[in-house]
Symmetry: C2
Subunit: 112 residues, 2 copies
């Protein structure tokens, strides 16, 4: 990730479509022991994310959780599974935490 040498413009930020999503299904990635394959709902859309949070979150803990995703990221094949976006998580190198909405809000809500 970027280490903050450059500044970003508001236009740079607006390129990203950041939204609230709800995790509906959680499956261990078949080819990678640190990855999950997550089925998420973003408003009317259902999609798949590959996320490297398996060492930090259990499956049951993730189901039904509201998270924050980059919804318009170009799809990428990750160890043979297509990821159609990316979730936001914070890490200090040792600990990892998901980034979540503090209050109840519908999936599909815009983050800005």
């Amino acid at each position: 990730m970027k280490e903050g040498n450059g500044m970003a413009s508001l236009e740079d930020f607006k390129k990203l479509d950041i939204k609230i999503a709800e995790i509906e299904t959680v499956t261990p990635h078949p080819n990678a022991d640190k990855l999950y394959v997550l089925g998420i709902r973003v408003g009317q859309i259902r999609k798949t994310l590959v996320a490297g949070i398996r060492l930090h979150y259990g499956e049951a803990e993730l189901k039904g959780k509201k998270i924050v995703v980059i919804d318009n990221l170009e799809p990428a094949m990750i160890r043979g599974v297509e990821s159609q976006g990316m979730l936001l998580a914070a890490s200090d190198g040792e600990h990892l935490t998901l980034v979540v909405p503090e209050r109840p809000i519908a999936d599909g809500a815009k983050v800005k």
Copy 2:
């Protein structure tokens, strides 16, 4: 904000330096009744944000809260106060919620 017509690349995402910040001070904006001026700490750095969350969050509720900020956004004057970044919040048009780390983590931690 963007309505998701275009896709974003991983490079687009990496332009943004997204971090955990802690709110240290909360002051009503002198010239706008929907805005706060927030003093935040991002690791070793202290800076000022102007945020339009005054109708949704009380001052006491915000003090000490960990939030998520775009740390390298170009500074902008907002009603006469310089904002040195932007916080992330989700809105469905009626409700607004801050986006926060779900588990304890130090301010300054990278979000990716």
